[in-house]
Amino acid sequence: MTEHPKTEAPLSSPAESPEEAAATRRHFLQGMAATAFVAACSPLEREAFFQRHFKELNKDELARVLARLSQGYSERFHKQVTVSAEPAASGVLFGYALDLSRCIGCRRCVYACVEENNQSRDPQIHWITVLEMEKAGGVDVMHANAYYDADEVPRPGHFYMPVQCQQCEHPPCVKVCPVQATWQDADGIVVVDYNWCIGCRCCMSACPYGARHFNWGEPTIADAEVNPETHYLGNRPRPRGVVEKCTFCVQRVRNGRYPACVEVCPVGARKFGNLLDPTSEVRYVIENKRVFILKEELGTSPKFFYFYGV
């Protein structure tokens, strides 16, 4: 159930032709079949349907789930895909700092994130949105432009502000989820159990940062472009109809590595580390630069700090 093979017809334009009408009928029948699947599906699919919440799985069950997912992805993408469930380390609380005086709005981070985290290429999903704002207007997201294009950036008179999940200490998205499909892990990362999410999108309404994204259609990634090193709560390929978000690259950072966006940034505007470690880069930023958090009036207490390194 969770990982349908992609339906063979391409996403068609709104215009209807006879062939499309026939395709619609075919899809309708497929849809009906999908609803009746519980009775008729394979044992593996039934197992996916009845899978418990991630936090309720014991060690053996989790191992089974990971093996099932790994097998499914490997068959689907024709290469070995691993799915880990590396837990949060103790004594670690992840924080992020982004230097607004450096960012030039080149969007390298956006696409590095897409590749690292297996976002759907079509329909397009980006976890990072880079906002272009006028220097004279200050940080004013309501008048920001995310669709700027130019031969070269930065454009005169403008500055740039990438926005992604702010990993709030008081995440409104977690509060509103009716089924606890999203929660804040011990290292502060807000994660989603894609196998538990019902796709009601309350969290998207609640998020003040536009950080949550929905799989409106069947997500697609070319086999060659799939990042095979995945995490259950992070970058494993998502099914249709669930919400996804930035996890600070949970699959990387829980193995000591920097998030992909940090490593790709050509101007070094992105800083990452452990907020509980006084010698970490983020702590240095907080104590030596003046930082601000986005929409502080909403009481979300982001662990994502903007600063002016100058």
Binding site: C106, Q124, H170, P266, V267, G268, L275, N288, K289
Partner: protein, 185 residues
């Protein structure tokens, strides 16, 4: 009736505090009170603390001594001939080659103190003027860092991002904008 309303009020309070409340900010900053991490690497002028890739020389240009060994240093501001690709846009107009390059041994750079440093440690030279940037860079806050957030890090030399002769960061072509919602079909 009164008791009931107290009960209702209490119930409301419990509910509201269960799902809202607790907006204490940034408790993690108190985990190590009084620590000023800015000093952590202040004195660590040991090059092994800053692993960097080889300096970004133009092809065939290094070692400089292969041409300069037998030349007499010329301090005049002039057309550079062999090096005419170099346009100097770095600070005041009277800046010239030997403010940084060493006239006697061109394969080294020279600090204001007269001490020589290799190109692979050019940050010491830049840091003479750009002290604040140097400090941030040592902490991993100025410039790009890769590797492990809690372990080995890969640094870059200043010159990897800033052409030392014209250090302003060059604009880049942005990658494509996201699709607008009505283009996602």
């Amino acid at each position: 009736m009164h008791r009931l309303s107290v009960l209702v009020a209490f119930g409301l309070f419990v509910w509201v505090s269960a799902c809202g409340g607790n907006h204490e900010r940034a408790a993690y900053l108190r985990t190590a009170p009084g620590v000023a991490p800015s000093g952590a690497r202040e004195d660590a002028a040991d090059a092994k603390d800053f692993p960097v890739p080889p300096p970004p020389f133009s092809e065939g240009v290094f070692p400089c001594s292969q041409c300069h060994a037998d030349m007499t240093p010329d301090l005049e501001v002039r057309d550079l001939g062999e090096h005419d690709g170099i346009e100097l846009h770095h600070g005041p107009r009277d800046r010239w080659c030997f403010d940084c390059h060493n006239p006697d041994n061109r394969d080294m750079l020279r600090l204001a103190s007269g001490r020589l440093v290799p190109f692979s440690e050019s940050y010491r030279l830049c840091g003479q003027c750009h002290g604040d940037k140097y400090r941030d860079w040592r902490m991993g806050v100025h410039g790009k860092r890769s590797g492990e957030w809690n372990g080995k890090k890969q640094y870059l030399l200043c010159a990897h991002c800033h052409n030392p002769h014209a250090p302003r960061f060059k604009p880049l072509a942005p990658l494509p904008p996201p699709k607008r919602p009505d283009e996602i079909l």
